[in-house]
Symmetry: C2
Subunit: 323 residues, 2 copies
Protein backbone atom coordinates (compact mmCIF):
# COMPACT_ATOMS: atom_id res chain seq x y z
CA UNK A 1 0.00 0.00 0.00
CA UNK A 2 1.12 3.54 -0.71
CA UNK A 3 -0.41 6.19 1.51
CA UNK A 4 0.06 9.94 1.19
CA UNK A 5 -1.70 12.96 2.60
CA UNK A 6 -3.84 12.82 -0.55
CA UNK A 7 -5.17 9.31 0.19
CA UNK A 8 -5.83 10.43 3.76
CA UNK A 9 -7.55 13.71 2.90
CA UNK A 10 -9.77 12.15 0.21
CA UNK A 11 -10.43 8.78 1.82
CA UNK A 12 -9.16 6.61 -1.05
CA UNK A 13 -6.96 3.56 -0.93
CA UNK A 14 -4.38 4.49 -3.60
CA UNK A 15 -2.85 7.85 -4.66
CA UNK A 16 -4.12 7.42 -8.22
CA UNK A 17 -6.77 9.59 -9.87
CA UNK A 18 -8.79 9.16 -13.06
CA UNK A 19 -9.72 12.77 -13.71
CA UNK A 20 -12.34 14.15 -16.05
CA UNK A 21 -12.30 12.92 -19.65
CA UNK A 22 -14.94 13.98 -22.13
CA UNK A 23 -16.95 10.99 -23.51
CA UNK A 24 -14.88 8.46 -21.54
CA UNK A 25 -15.69 9.62 -18.00
CA UNK A 26 -18.79 7.45 -17.62
CA UNK A 27 -20.01 5.04 -14.98
CA UNK A 28 -18.28 2.00 -16.54
CA UNK A 29 -14.79 3.43 -16.10
CA UNK A 30 -15.33 5.52 -12.97
CA UNK A 31 -16.93 2.65 -11.03
CA UNK A 32 -14.10 0.31 -12.06
CA UNK A 33 -11.55 2.87 -10.84
CA UNK A 34 -13.43 3.26 -7.55
CA UNK A 35 -13.65 -0.51 -7.13
CA UNK A 36 -9.88 -0.70 -7.69
CA UNK A 37 -9.36 1.71 -4.78
CA UNK A 38 -8.39 4.74 -6.87
CA UNK A 39 -10.34 7.98 -7.29
CA UNK A 40 -12.43 8.17 -10.46
CA UNK A 41 -14.43 11.10 -11.77
CA UNK A 42 -17.49 11.09 -13.98
CA UNK A 43 -17.36 13.96 -16.46
CA UNK A 44 -20.38 16.21 -15.99
CA UNK A 45 -20.49 17.66 -19.50
CA UNK A 46 -20.33 14.23 -21.12
CA UNK A 47 -23.98 14.05 -20.05
CA UNK A 48 -26.32 16.13 -22.21
CA UNK A 49 -28.31 17.58 -19.30
CA UNK A 50 -28.03 18.00 -15.52
CA UNK A 51 -30.82 15.40 -15.20
CA UNK A 52 -28.79 12.91 -17.25
CA UNK A 53 -25.82 13.57 -14.96
CA UNK A 54 -27.94 12.78 -11.90
CA UNK A 55 -28.92 9.49 -13.55
CA UNK A 56 -25.29 8.70 -14.45
CA UNK A 57 -24.25 9.31 -10.83
CA UNK A 58 -27.01 6.94 -9.67
CA UNK A 59 -25.90 4.35 -12.26
CA UNK A 60 -22.29 4.61 -11.05
CA UNK A 61 -23.47 4.13 -7.43
CA UNK A 62 -25.12 0.88 -8.47
CA UNK A 63 -21.74 -0.30 -9.79
CA UNK A 64 -19.62 0.61 -6.76
CA UNK A 65 -20.02 1.40 -3.09
CA UNK A 66 -16.68 3.20 -2.93
CA UNK A 67 -16.24 6.98 -3.26
CA UNK A 68 -16.07 8.61 -6.66
CA UNK A 69 -16.33 12.19 -7.86
CA UNK A 70 -17.56 14.34 -10.74
CA UNK A 71 -15.49 16.61 -12.98
CA UNK A 72 -16.92 20.02 -13.91
CA UNK A 73 -14.92 21.81 -16.58
CA UNK A 74 -15.74 25.47 -17.05
CA UNK A 75 -14.93 26.87 -20.48
CA UNK A 76 -15.80 30.31 -21.80
CA UNK A 77 -18.52 29.96 -24.43
CA UNK A 78 -21.02 32.16 -26.18
CA UNK A 79 -23.79 29.76 -25.18
CA UNK A 80 -22.36 28.05 -22.09
CA UNK A 81 -23.89 24.87 -20.68
CA UNK A 82 -26.05 25.45 -17.58
CA UNK A 83 -23.10 25.15 -15.18
CA UNK A 84 -25.07 26.15 -12.08
CA UNK A 85 -27.61 23.43 -12.80
CA UNK A 86 -24.93 20.79 -13.31
CA UNK A 87 -23.42 21.96 -10.02
CA UNK A 88 -26.76 21.58 -8.23
CA UNK A 89 -27.15 18.08 -9.69
CA UNK A 90 -23.71 17.15 -8.32
CA UNK A 91 -24.41 18.55 -4.86
CA UNK A 92 -27.92 17.11 -4.65
CA UNK A 93 -26.69 13.68 -5.71
CA UNK A 94 -24.54 13.64 -2.58
CA UNK A 95 -21.20 13.65 -4.40
CA UNK A 96 -18.45 14.61 -1.93
CA UNK A 97 -15.48 15.17 -4.28
CA UNK A 98 -15.40 17.37 -7.37
CA UNK A 99 -12.64 18.05 -9.88
CA UNK A 100 -12.93 21.51 -11.41
CA UNK A 101 -10.97 22.70 -14.42
CA UNK A 102 -10.99 25.76 -16.59
CA UNK A 103 -11.65 29.41 -16.02
CA UNK A 104 -12.64 31.30 -12.88
CA UNK A 105 -14.15 28.51 -10.79
CA UNK A 106 -14.71 30.74 -7.74
CA UNK A 107 -18.53 30.66 -7.63
CA UNK A 108 -18.48 26.88 -8.13
CA UNK A 109 -15.81 26.34 -5.50
CA UNK A 110 -17.75 28.51 -3.02
CA UNK A 111 -20.97 26.56 -3.55
CA UNK A 112 -19.27 23.16 -3.40
CA UNK A 113 -17.39 24.06 -0.23
CA UNK A 114 -20.54 25.46 1.40
CA UNK A 115 -22.15 22.08 0.73
CA UNK A 116 -19.33 19.99 2.18
CA UNK A 117 -17.88 18.94 -1.19
CA UNK A 118 -14.08 18.70 -1.45
CA UNK A 119 -12.64 20.35 -4.57
CA UNK A 120 -9.55 19.42 -6.60
CA UNK A 121 -8.78 22.12 -9.15
CA UNK A 122 -6.84 21.17 -12.26
CA UNK A 123 -4.44 23.69 -13.75
CA UNK A 124 -1.49 23.82 -16.10
CA UNK A 125 0.84 26.38 -14.51
CA UNK A 126 2.32 27.25 -11.15
CA UNK A 127 0.67 30.68 -11.14
CA UNK A 128 -2.78 29.19 -11.72
CA UNK A 129 -2.07 26.63 -9.01
CA UNK A 130 -1.27 29.45 -6.61
CA UNK A 131 -4.54 31.19 -7.57
CA UNK A 132 -6.45 27.96 -6.98
CA UNK A 133 -5.20 27.83 -3.42
CA UNK A 134 -6.70 31.29 -2.94
CA UNK A 135 -10.02 30.01 -4.32
CA UNK A 136 -10.10 27.73 -1.28
CA UNK A 137 -9.74 24.37 -3.04
CA UNK A 138 -8.63 21.28 -1.11
CA UNK A 139 -6.04 20.04 -3.60
CA UNK A 140 -4.67 20.91 -6.99
CA UNK A 141 -3.97 18.73 -9.97
CA UNK A 142 -1.06 20.15 -11.95
CA UNK A 143 -0.99 19.15 -15.61
CA UNK A 144 2.29 19.20 -17.52
CA UNK A 145 3.28 19.48 -21.16
CA UNK A 146 3.13 15.70 -21.78
CA UNK A 147 -0.61 15.49 -21.11
CA UNK A 148 -3.49 14.68 -23.40
CA UNK A 149 -5.92 17.48 -24.08
CA UNK A 150 -5.03 21.01 -23.07
CA UNK A 151 -1.51 21.53 -21.69
CA UNK A 152 -1.79 25.33 -21.68
CA UNK A 153 0.61 27.54 -23.60
CA UNK A 154 3.71 27.43 -21.37
CA UNK A 155 5.08 24.02 -22.45
CA UNK A 156 6.76 23.21 -19.15
CA UNK A 157 7.53 19.52 -18.70
CA UNK A 158 6.33 17.70 -15.60
CA UNK A 159 9.91 17.16 -14.39
CA UNK A 160 10.07 20.93 -13.82
CA UNK A 161 6.44 21.90 -13.35
CA UNK A 162 5.84 19.52 -10.43
CA UNK A 163 8.74 20.59 -8.19
CA UNK A 164 8.21 24.26 -9.12
CA UNK A 165 4.58 23.90 -8.02
CA UNK A 166 5.56 21.97 -4.89
CA UNK A 167 7.84 24.88 -3.90
CA UNK A 168 4.89 27.27 -3.85
CA UNK A 169 1.81 25.18 -3.11
CA UNK A 170 1.41 23.59 0.28
CA UNK A 171 -1.94 21.81 -0.10
CA UNK A 172 -2.09 18.24 -1.51
CA UNK A 173 -1.03 18.07 -5.14
CA UNK A 174 -1.75 15.53 -7.84
CA UNK A 175 0.74 15.33 -10.72
CA UNK A 176 -0.90 14.97 -14.11
CA UNK A 177 0.35 14.55 -17.67
CA UNK A 178 2.62 11.72 -18.68
CA UNK A 179 1.76 9.21 -15.98
CA UNK A 180 0.94 5.60 -16.69
CA UNK A 181 3.12 3.27 -14.66
CA UNK A 182 4.81 2.72 -11.31
CA UNK A 183 7.98 4.52 -12.39
CA UNK A 184 5.98 7.67 -13.03
CA UNK A 185 4.12 7.40 -9.74
CA UNK A 186 7.35 7.13 -7.74
CA UNK A 187 8.91 9.95 -9.78
CA UNK A 188 5.89 12.17 -9.04
CA UNK A 189 6.13 11.41 -5.32
CA UNK A 190 9.87 12.19 -5.39
CA UNK A 191 9.22 15.47 -7.23
CA UNK A 192 6.86 16.61 -4.47
CA UNK A 193 3.41 15.41 -5.57
CA UNK A 194 1.05 13.38 -3.37
CA UNK A 195 -0.33 11.22 -6.16
CA UNK A 196 -0.83 11.00 -9.92
CA UNK A 197 -3.65 11.52 -12.36
CA UNK A 198 -3.83 9.19 -15.35
CA UNK A 199 -6.01 9.84 -18.39
CA UNK A 200 -4.69 8.16 -21.51
CA UNK A 201 -3.52 5.13 -19.49
CA UNK A 202 -7.03 4.57 -18.07
CA UNK A 203 -8.47 4.80 -21.61
CA UNK A 204 -6.47 1.68 -22.50
CA UNK A 205 -8.27 -0.57 -20.01
CA UNK A 206 -10.93 -3.20 -20.49
CA UNK A 207 -13.59 -1.14 -18.73
CA UNK A 208 -13.02 2.16 -20.57
CA UNK A 209 -16.13 2.82 -22.69
CA UNK A 210 -14.12 3.27 -25.87
CA UNK A 211 -14.08 1.33 -29.13
CA UNK A 212 -11.43 -1.41 -29.15
CA UNK A 213 -9.66 0.26 -32.12
CA UNK A 214 -8.68 3.23 -29.96
CA UNK A 215 -7.29 1.00 -27.22
CA UNK A 216 -5.28 -0.99 -29.75
CA UNK A 217 -3.97 2.23 -31.28
CA UNK A 218 -2.69 3.39 -27.89
CA UNK A 219 -0.83 0.09 -27.47
CA UNK A 220 0.72 0.40 -30.91
CA UNK A 221 1.57 4.10 -30.74
CA UNK A 222 4.86 5.30 -29.34
CA UNK A 223 5.69 8.46 -27.39
CA UNK A 224 5.97 10.49 -30.61
CA UNK A 225 2.47 9.72 -31.87
CA UNK A 226 0.77 12.91 -30.73
CA UNK A 227 0.30 16.33 -32.29
CA UNK A 228 -0.14 19.73 -30.69
CA UNK A 229 -2.94 21.52 -32.51
CA UNK A 230 -4.84 24.81 -32.09
CA UNK A 231 -1.66 26.55 -30.92
CA UNK A 232 -2.41 29.43 -33.26
CA UNK A 233 -5.77 29.80 -31.50
CA UNK A 234 -4.05 29.88 -28.09
CA UNK A 235 -6.07 26.84 -27.16
CA UNK A 236 -3.40 24.17 -27.65
CA UNK A 237 -4.53 20.56 -27.50
CA UNK A 238 -2.43 17.39 -27.55
CA UNK A 239 -4.16 14.77 -29.65
CA UNK A 240 -3.40 11.40 -31.19
CA UNK A 241 -1.52 11.89 -34.45
CA UNK A 242 -3.80 10.94 -37.34
CA UNK A 243 -4.87 12.13 -40.77
CA UNK A 244 -6.92 15.05 -39.46
CA UNK A 245 -4.44 16.18 -36.79
CA UNK A 246 -1.73 16.27 -39.45
CA UNK A 247 -3.95 18.37 -41.70
CA UNK A 248 -4.51 20.81 -38.85
CA UNK A 249 -0.78 20.96 -38.15
CA UNK A 250 -0.08 21.66 -41.82
CA UNK A 251 -2.74 24.39 -41.94
CA UNK A 252 -1.41 26.05 -38.79
CA UNK A 253 2.22 25.87 -39.98
CA UNK A 254 1.13 27.43 -43.22
CA UNK A 255 -0.22 30.43 -41.35
CA UNK A 256 -3.90 29.55 -41.79
CA UNK A 257 -6.43 31.84 -40.19
CA UNK A 258 -8.63 30.85 -37.25
CA UNK A 259 -11.65 30.43 -39.52
CA UNK A 260 -9.85 28.01 -41.84
CA UNK A 261 -8.72 25.82 -38.95
CA UNK A 262 -12.18 25.93 -37.43
CA UNK A 263 -13.72 25.03 -40.75
CA UNK A 264 -11.50 21.94 -40.99
CA UNK A 265 -12.32 20.66 -37.53
CA UNK A 266 -16.01 21.55 -37.46
CA UNK A 267 -17.94 18.38 -37.85
CA UNK A 268 -15.03 15.98 -37.40
CA UNK A 269 -14.85 16.15 -33.61
CA UNK A 270 -18.25 14.60 -33.15
CA UNK A 271 -19.01 11.25 -31.65
CA UNK A 272 -19.69 9.15 -34.72
CA UNK A 273 -16.06 8.14 -35.25
CA UNK A 274 -15.73 7.36 -31.56
CA UNK A 275 -18.62 4.91 -31.80
CA UNK A 276 -17.55 3.22 -35.03
CA UNK A 277 -13.87 3.10 -34.06
CA UNK A 278 -12.78 5.00 -37.16
CA UNK A 279 -9.38 6.30 -36.08
CA UNK A 280 -9.16 8.92 -38.84
CA UNK A 281 -12.71 10.23 -38.48
CA UNK A 282 -12.02 12.72 -35.72
CA UNK A 283 -9.59 14.37 -33.36
CA UNK A 284 -8.94 12.44 -30.17
CA UNK A 285 -7.04 13.57 -27.11
CA UNK A 286 -4.05 11.36 -26.28
CA UNK A 287 -0.94 11.93 -24.25
CA UNK A 288 2.73 11.12 -24.82
CA UNK A 289 2.25 8.33 -22.26
CA UNK A 290 1.02 6.24 -25.20
CA UNK A 291 4.71 5.28 -25.44
CA UNK A 292 4.36 3.49 -22.09
CA UNK A 293 1.03 1.77 -22.86
CA UNK A 294 1.79 -1.81 -23.86
CA UNK A 295 -1.42 -3.64 -22.92
CA UNK A 296 -5.13 -3.31 -22.19
CA UNK A 297 -5.55 -4.69 -18.67
CA UNK A 298 -8.54 -4.44 -16.37
CA UNK A 299 -8.54 -1.28 -14.26
CA UNK A 300 -7.96 -3.34 -11.12
CA UNK A 301 -4.99 -5.22 -12.62
CA UNK A 302 -3.51 -1.89 -13.76
CA UNK A 303 -3.89 -0.19 -10.38
CA UNK A 304 -2.63 -3.24 -8.44
CA UNK A 305 0.38 -3.54 -10.75
CA UNK A 306 1.28 0.14 -10.40
CA UNK A 307 1.07 0.02 -6.61
CA UNK A 308 3.03 -3.21 -6.17
CA UNK A 309 5.71 -2.13 -8.64
CA UNK A 310 5.94 1.29 -6.97
CA UNK A 311 6.52 -0.38 -3.62
CA UNK A 312 9.26 -2.43 -5.23
CA UNK A 313 10.91 0.63 -6.81
CA UNK A 314 10.95 2.40 -3.43
CA UNK A 315 11.88 -0.57 -1.24
CA UNK A 316 14.29 -2.33 -3.58
CA UNK A 317 15.58 -0.29 -6.53
CA UNK A 318 15.95 3.10 -4.83
CA UNK A 319 16.88 1.70 -1.41
CA UNK A 320 19.68 -0.34 -3.03
CA UNK A 321 21.31 2.86 -4.34
CA UNK A 322 21.77 4.40 -0.89
CA UNK A 323 24.97 3.22 0.79
CA UNK B 1 26.24 8.15 -0.80
CA UNK B 2 24.22 7.11 -3.83
CA UNK B 3 25.78 4.37 -5.93
CA UNK B 4 24.44 3.06 -9.22
CA UNK B 5 25.88 0.94 -12.02
CA UNK B 6 26.89 4.26 -13.58
CA UNK B 7 29.09 5.30 -10.65
CA UNK B 8 30.59 1.81 -10.66
CA UNK B 9 31.23 1.62 -14.41
CA UNK B 10 32.75 5.11 -14.61
CA UNK B 11 34.58 5.20 -11.29
CA UNK B 12 32.96 8.34 -9.90
CA UNK B 13 31.60 9.00 -6.45
CA UNK B 14 28.18 10.46 -7.34
CA UNK B 15 25.73 9.73 -10.20
CA UNK B 16 25.87 13.33 -11.38
CA UNK B 17 27.34 14.49 -14.70
CA UNK B 18 28.27 17.92 -15.98
CA UNK B 19 28.18 17.25 -19.70
CA UNK B 20 29.55 19.33 -22.55
CA UNK B 21 28.65 23.02 -22.62
CA UNK B 22 30.08 25.36 -25.21
CA UNK B 23 32.13 28.23 -23.63
CA UNK B 24 31.38 27.06 -20.07
CA UNK B 25 33.00 23.60 -20.19
CA UNK B 26 36.44 24.79 -19.12
CA UNK B 27 38.90 23.67 -16.49
CA UNK B 28 37.46 25.93 -13.75
CA UNK B 29 34.07 24.21 -13.79
CA UNK B 30 35.12 20.71 -14.77
CA UNK B 31 37.81 20.46 -12.10
CA UNK B 32 35.37 21.73 -9.45
CA UNK B 33 32.86 19.08 -10.54
CA UNK B 34 35.57 16.38 -10.39
CA UNK B 35 36.69 17.57 -6.96
CA UNK B 36 33.08 17.35 -5.79
CA UNK B 37 33.01 13.68 -6.81
CA UNK B 38 30.81 14.11 -9.89
CA UNK B 39 31.79 13.60 -13.53
CA UNK B 40 32.69 16.78 -15.40
CA UNK B 41 33.49 17.19 -19.07
CA UNK B 42 35.62 19.81 -20.75
CA UNK B 43 34.11 20.84 -24.09
CA UNK B 44 36.57 20.15 -26.88
CA UNK B 45 35.25 22.72 -29.36
CA UNK B 46 35.32 25.51 -26.79
CA UNK B 47 39.07 25.39 -27.43
CA UNK B 48 40.12 26.99 -30.71
CA UNK B 49 42.56 24.22 -31.67
CA UNK B 50 43.41 20.64 -30.73
CA UNK B 51 46.64 21.98 -29.17
CA UNK B 52 44.66 24.38 -26.99
CA UNK B 53 42.49 21.45 -25.90
CA UNK B 54 45.59 19.49 -24.85
CA UNK B 55 46.66 22.49 -22.78
CA UNK B 56 43.20 22.84 -21.22
CA UNK B 57 43.25 19.15 -20.26
CA UNK B 58 46.66 19.65 -18.64
CA UNK B 59 45.38 22.76 -16.84
CA UNK B 60 42.36 20.83 -15.54
CA UNK B 61 44.68 18.05 -14.30
CA UNK B 62 46.56 20.63 -12.27
CA UNK B 63 43.30 21.57 -10.58
CA UNK B 64 42.08 18.06 -9.73
CA UNK B 65 43.46 14.56 -9.34
CA UNK B 66 40.03 12.98 -9.84
CA UNK B 67 38.72 11.66 -13.17
CA UNK B 68 37.14 13.99 -15.69
CA UNK B 69 36.25 13.68 -19.36
CA UNK B 70 36.01 15.62 -22.60
CA UNK B 71 32.91 16.27 -24.71
CA UNK B 72 33.22 16.03 -28.49
CA UNK B 73 30.13 17.27 -30.33
CA UNK B 74 29.98 16.38 -34.01
CA UNK B 75 27.84 18.68 -36.12
CA UNK B 76 27.48 18.66 -39.87
CA UNK B 77 29.26 21.71 -41.30
CA UNK B 78 30.55 22.92 -44.63
CA UNK B 79 33.92 23.59 -43.03
CA UNK B 80 33.96 21.23 -40.05
CA UNK B 81 36.48 21.57 -37.24
CA UNK B 82 39.34 19.03 -37.42
CA UNK B 83 37.44 16.40 -35.44
CA UNK B 84 40.02 13.65 -35.92
CA UNK B 85 42.73 15.93 -34.53
CA UNK B 86 40.65 16.88 -31.51
CA UNK B 87 40.04 13.17 -31.01
CA UNK B 88 43.78 12.44 -31.12
CA UNK B 89 44.42 15.22 -28.61
CA UNK B 90 41.88 13.66 -26.25
CA UNK B 91 43.32 10.16 -26.58
CA UNK B 92 46.95 11.28 -26.33
CA UNK B 93 46.19 13.34 -23.23
CA UNK B 94 45.22 10.12 -21.50
CA UNK B 95 41.54 11.04 -21.06
CA UNK B 96 39.58 7.87 -20.25
CA UNK B 97 35.96 9.10 -20.58
CA UNK B 98 34.45 10.95 -23.52
CA UNK B 99 30.97 12.32 -24.08
CA UNK B 100 30.02 12.36 -27.74
CA UNK B 101 27.01 14.14 -29.17
CA UNK B 102 25.69 14.84 -32.62
CA UNK B 103 25.70 13.00 -35.90
CA UNK B 104 27.20 9.65 -36.86
CA UNK B 105 29.84 9.25 -34.16
CA UNK B 106 30.86 5.74 -35.33
CA UNK B 107 34.45 6.50 -36.42
CA UNK B 108 35.04 8.45 -33.22
CA UNK B 109 33.52 5.75 -31.03
CA UNK B 110 35.63 3.09 -32.76
CA UNK B 111 38.85 5.03 -32.20
CA UNK B 112 38.05 5.90 -28.59
CA UNK B 113 37.11 2.33 -27.76
CA UNK B 114 40.26 0.98 -29.47
CA UNK B 115 42.24 3.26 -27.18
CA UNK B 116 40.55 2.24 -23.94
CA UNK B 117 38.37 5.34 -23.68
CA UNK B 118 34.82 4.87 -22.35
CA UNK B 119 32.15 6.66 -24.38
CA UNK B 120 28.85 8.20 -23.26
CA UNK B 121 26.76 9.21 -26.25
CA UNK B 122 24.19 11.95 -25.81
CA UNK B 123 20.97 11.75 -27.80
CA UNK B 124 17.47 13.16 -27.75
CA UNK B 125 15.29 10.23 -28.76
CA UNK B 126 14.79 6.58 -27.97
CA UNK B 127 15.58 5.53 -31.53
CA UNK B 128 18.91 7.38 -31.49
CA UNK B 129 19.66 5.84 -28.10
CA UNK B 130 19.07 2.40 -29.56
CA UNK B 131 21.42 3.24 -32.47
CA UNK B 132 24.06 4.43 -30.00
CA UNK B 133 24.06 1.04 -28.32
CA UNK B 134 24.86 -0.47 -31.73
CA UNK B 135 27.77 1.99 -32.08
CA UNK B 136 29.28 0.22 -29.08
CA UNK B 137 29.10 3.06 -26.56
CA UNK B 138 29.35 2.36 -22.82
CA UNK B 139 26.44 4.52 -21.71
CA UNK B 140 23.91 6.90 -23.17
CA UNK B 141 22.79 10.28 -21.98
CA UNK B 142 19.17 10.87 -22.99
CA UNK B 143 18.17 14.50 -23.28
CA UNK B 144 14.53 15.49 -22.93
CA UNK B 145 12.38 18.42 -24.04
CA UNK B 146 13.12 20.51 -20.93
CA UNK B 147 16.85 20.80 -21.71
CA UNK B 148 18.95 23.79 -22.65
CA UNK B 149 20.40 23.78 -26.13
CA UNK B 150 19.13 21.26 -28.67
CA UNK B 151 16.21 19.07 -27.55
CA UNK B 152 15.67 17.60 -31.02
CA UNK B 153 12.38 17.90 -32.87
CA UNK B 154 10.24 15.31 -31.05
CA UNK B 155 9.35 17.34 -27.93
CA UNK B 156 9.01 14.37 -25.60
CA UNK B 157 9.22 15.31 -21.92
CA UNK B 158 11.70 13.53 -19.67
CA UNK B 159 8.89 11.92 -17.65
CA UNK B 160 8.11 9.85 -20.76
CA UNK B 161 11.42 9.81 -22.62
CA UNK B 162 13.41 8.31 -19.74
CA UNK B 163 11.20 5.26 -19.03
CA UNK B 164 10.62 4.72 -22.79
CA UNK B 165 14.40 4.66 -23.25
CA UNK B 166 14.89 2.44 -20.20
CA UNK B 167 12.47 -0.09 -21.74
CA UNK B 168 14.71 -0.48 -24.79
CA UNK B 169 18.24 0.35 -23.65
CA UNK B 170 20.01 -1.93 -21.25
CA UNK B 171 23.37 -0.16 -20.84
CA UNK B 172 23.82 2.56 -18.17
CA UNK B 173 21.73 5.62 -18.89
CA UNK B 174 22.07 9.22 -17.74
CA UNK B 175 18.92 11.33 -17.72
CA UNK B 176 19.44 14.84 -19.02
CA UNK B 177 17.25 17.91 -19.44
CA UNK B 178 15.43 19.48 -16.53
CA UNK B 179 17.60 18.28 -13.67
CA UNK B 180 18.90 20.54 -10.95
CA UNK B 181 18.02 19.21 -7.53
CA UNK B 182 17.64 16.09 -5.41
CA UNK B 183 13.99 15.65 -6.36
CA UNK B 184 14.96 15.37 -10.00
CA UNK B 185 17.79 12.94 -9.26
CA UNK B 186 15.48 10.58 -7.36
CA UNK B 187 12.80 10.94 -10.05
CA UNK B 188 15.35 10.02 -12.72
CA UNK B 189 16.47 6.97 -10.75
CA UNK B 190 12.82 5.93 -10.29
CA UNK B 191 12.14 6.37 -14.01
CA UNK B 192 14.95 3.95 -14.87
CA UNK B 193 18.05 6.14 -15.26
CA UNK B 194 21.36 5.52 -13.47
CA UNK B 195 22.21 9.16 -12.90
CA UNK B 196 21.53 12.70 -14.11
CA UNK B 197 23.25 15.26 -16.25
CA UNK B 198 22.97 18.91 -15.21
CA UNK B 199 23.90 21.80 -17.48
CA UNK B 200 22.04 24.99 -16.59
CA UNK B 201 22.24 24.17 -12.86
CA UNK B 202 26.05 23.87 -12.99
CA UNK B 203 26.21 27.23 -14.82
CA UNK B 204 24.73 28.86 -11.70
CA UNK B 205 27.65 27.93 -9.45
CA UNK B 206 30.53 29.98 -8.09
CA UNK B 207 33.10 28.15 -10.20
CA UNK B 208 31.29 28.34 -13.56
CA UNK B 209 33.35 30.63 -15.83
CA UNK B 210 30.40 32.86 -16.63
CA UNK B 211 29.73 36.53 -15.95
CA UNK B 212 27.85 37.08 -12.68
CA UNK B 213 24.93 38.68 -14.58
CA UNK B 214 24.07 35.34 -16.22
CA UNK B 215 24.13 33.51 -12.89
CA UNK B 216 21.89 36.14 -11.30
CA UNK B 217 19.53 35.93 -14.27
CA UNK B 218 19.17 32.17 -13.79
CA UNK B 219 18.28 32.73 -10.13
CA UNK B 220 15.68 35.34 -11.06
CA UNK B 221 14.18 33.52 -14.03
CA UNK B 222 11.33 31.10 -13.60
CA UNK B 223 10.51 27.90 -15.51
CA UNK B 224 8.81 29.87 -18.29
CA UNK B 225 11.81 32.06 -19.12
CA UNK B 226 13.06 30.12 -22.12
CA UNK B 227 12.27 30.22 -25.84
CA UNK B 228 12.46 27.53 -28.47
CA UNK B 229 14.09 29.02 -31.54
CA UNK B 230 15.28 27.72 -34.93
CA UNK B 231 12.34 25.30 -35.10
CA UNK B 232 11.69 26.40 -38.67
CA UNK B 233 15.27 25.38 -39.50
CA UNK B 234 14.73 21.94 -37.89
CA UNK B 235 17.55 22.78 -35.52
CA UNK B 236 15.50 23.72 -32.46
CA UNK B 237 17.36 25.28 -29.55
CA UNK B 238 16.08 26.15 -26.09
CA UNK B 239 17.56 29.46 -24.99
CA UNK B 240 17.09 32.02 -22.25
CA UNK B 241 14.21 34.33 -23.16
CA UNK B 242 15.59 37.77 -23.98
CA UNK B 243 15.23 40.56 -26.50
CA UNK B 244 16.91 38.65 -29.30
CA UNK B 245 15.24 35.30 -28.66
CA UNK B 246 11.87 37.04 -28.74
CA UNK B 247 12.77 38.69 -32.06
CA UNK B 248 13.67 35.29 -33.48
CA UNK B 249 10.41 33.79 -32.19
CA UNK B 250 8.44 36.63 -33.79
CA UNK B 251 10.28 36.21 -37.11
CA UNK B 252 9.71 32.46 -37.13
CA UNK B 253 6.03 32.80 -36.18
CA UNK B 254 5.65 35.30 -38.98
CA UNK B 255 6.86 32.72 -41.48
CA UNK B 256 10.30 34.25 -42.01
CA UNK B 257 12.67 32.46 -44.33
CA UNK B 258 15.85 30.73 -43.21
CA UNK B 259 18.01 33.57 -44.52
CA UNK B 260 16.11 36.21 -42.55
CA UNK B 261 16.46 34.29 -39.30
CA UNK B 262 20.12 33.64 -40.01
CA UNK B 263 20.65 37.29 -40.76
CA UNK B 264 19.19 38.26 -37.39
CA UNK B 265 21.33 35.87 -35.39
CA UNK B 266 24.56 36.25 -37.32
CA UNK B 267 26.89 38.29 -35.22
CA UNK B 268 24.89 38.19 -32.01
CA UNK B 269 25.89 34.72 -30.91
CA UNK B 270 29.51 35.68 -30.41
CA UNK B 271 31.38 35.85 -27.17
CA UNK B 272 31.48 39.56 -26.52
CA UNK B 273 28.18 39.67 -24.64
CA UNK B 274 29.22 36.63 -22.64
CA UNK B 275 32.31 38.45 -21.44
CA UNK B 276 30.67 41.77 -20.66
CA UNK B 277 27.60 40.17 -19.07
CA UNK B 278 25.22 41.92 -21.46
CA UNK B 279 22.13 39.71 -21.19
CA UNK B 280 20.52 41.06 -24.34
CA UNK B 281 23.61 40.96 -26.52
CA UNK B 282 23.35 37.36 -27.61
CA UNK B 283 21.50 34.08 -27.55
CA UNK B 284 22.31 31.87 -24.58
CA UNK B 285 21.29 28.29 -23.99
CA UNK B 286 19.27 27.81 -20.81
CA UNK B 287 16.90 25.10 -19.67
CA UNK B 288 13.50 25.16 -17.98
CA UNK B 289 15.33 24.11 -14.80
CA UNK B 290 15.99 27.82 -14.29
CA UNK B 291 12.71 27.65 -12.35
CA UNK B 292 14.47 25.47 -9.77
CA UNK B 293 17.66 27.56 -9.53
CA UNK B 294 17.40 29.74 -6.44
CA UNK B 295 21.05 30.31 -5.50
CA UNK B 296 24.65 30.32 -6.73
CA UNK B 297 26.44 27.82 -4.48
CA UNK B 298 29.89 26.31 -4.90
CA UNK B 299 29.88 23.15 -7.00
CA UNK B 300 30.76 21.06 -3.97
CA UNK B 301 27.95 22.52 -1.86
CA UNK B 302 25.52 21.90 -4.72
CA UNK B 303 26.58 18.28 -5.24
CA UNK B 304 26.67 17.52 -1.51
CA UNK B 305 23.23 19.05 -1.05
CA UNK B 306 21.73 17.05 -3.92
CA UNK B 307 23.15 13.78 -2.63
CA UNK B 308 22.16 14.27 1.00
CA UNK B 309 18.66 15.47 0.06
CA UNK B 310 18.27 12.56 -2.36
CA UNK B 311 19.15 10.13 0.43
CA UNK B 312 16.53 11.80 2.58
CA UNK B 313 13.86 11.63 -0.14
CA UNK B 314 14.52 7.91 -0.59
CA UNK B 315 14.98 6.96 3.07
CA UNK B 316 12.38 9.24 4.63
CA UNK B 317 9.83 10.77 2.25
CA UNK B 318 9.31 7.81 -0.09
CA UNK B 319 9.82 5.14 2.57
CA UNK B 320 7.16 6.81 4.74
CA UNK B 321 4.55 6.33 1.98
CA UNK B 322 4.88 2.53 1.89
CA UNK B 323 2.68 0.83 4.49
Amino acid sequence: MIKTRFTEAFGVEHPIVQGGMQWVGRAELTSAVANAGALGFLTALTQPTPEALSKEIARCREMTDKPFGVNLTILPAINPPPYAEYRRAIIESGIKIVETAGYKPQEHVDDFKANGVKVIHKCTSVRHGVSSVRYGVDAISIDGFECAGHPGEDDVGGLILIPCAADKIKIPMIASGGFGDARGLVAALALGADGVNMGTRFCATKEAPLHENFKQQMVENDERATDLIFRTMHNTARVAKNKISQEVVALERGGAKFEEVRHLVTGVRGREGLETGDLDAGIWSAGQVQGLVHDVPSVKDLVDRIISEAEEIINKRLASFVR
